[in-house]
Symmetry: C2
Subunit: 157 residues, 2 copies
Amino acid sequence: MEGRIERIKKQLHSASYKLTPQREATLRVLLENEEDHLSAEDVYLLVKEKSPEIGLATVYRTLELLNELNVVDKINFGDGVSRYDLRQEGATHFHHHLVCIECGAVDEIKEDLLEDVEEIVERDWKFKVKDHRLTFHGICYRCHESEDDKETKKKAD
Amino acid sequence: MEGRIERIKKQLHSASYKLTPQREATLRVLLENEEDHLSAEDVYLLVKEKSPEIGLATVYRTLELLNELNVVDKINFGDGVSRYDLRQEGATHFHHHLVCIECGAVDEIKEDLLEDVEEIVERDWKFKVKDHRLTFHGICYRCHESEDDKETKKKAD
DNA sequence: ATAGTTGCAAACCGTTTGCAATTTA
DNA sequence: TAAATTGCAAACGGTTTGCAACTAT
């Protein structure tokens, strides 16, 4: 993780930004919660645990900065809140999401899956794809199982 | 178009809502701008041209209602604004979008394109897909053309 | 030294809501 | 006529911004 922070530090510097303690603290929170999809407020509260002096505005500014540098992706699942998702190092494309309409869980798909579709889009629509956002809405395996259990019980009776 | 309004009216009634003049005016604006991706404010201004008494809150309430009834889809391209997109009659799935990062244009793809991907998601992630959101970010054919011109001029880089 | 950065509070802006008046089925 | 709907204005909530003090390089 230190290495990753070091590399992001270089990225900041090469764009003539500084790695302040606040920015580093924010980055660490993002790295420690890589699987989650935190809102700015979420990040703020987590950073505050270790750096209580930090201000919400700074978190917003840091997240915006990291978004510009493509370190994080800003995503929006339709509730009025932006969420911030760490990009995998070296990833050229954004990963996909599965949003469960039962329990609200958000799972990630890191495989590409869209290669063929992008090819079609580039060819048929003459659209040069730079990135994509793909989210499926449906029922996750966890909710699916409990649903199955109910069925099984019913049948057993 | 009258037929379509008639059908939506029935849909409203069957959920015990009324088709008020304001709602009808809003619907007409949506039908007349089917290809666009209007924000609530956009819709409001357009409705106002023909029904100047209408209030912004009513437009919001109507759009929310139509979203509930699956007549429109509420979408979000990452700017802080919700946009409302008329669903094709009988469509089970949401269509896709191409957002140009040069000029901001939003084009639509009505083909499904995701059948194979959904099959994989259902099989490998045990996720029952109900709907999806797919947006490509990149350069549209219009900007692509002018970009080509620049490249030719600039040459190296 | 100085350009960049911070925290605070106020401003912003899209959206929602309470309410009294009005309208629809 | 009763329940639904409207317009208005005020409230809301996430995000941005102006500014004086501060800090990393």
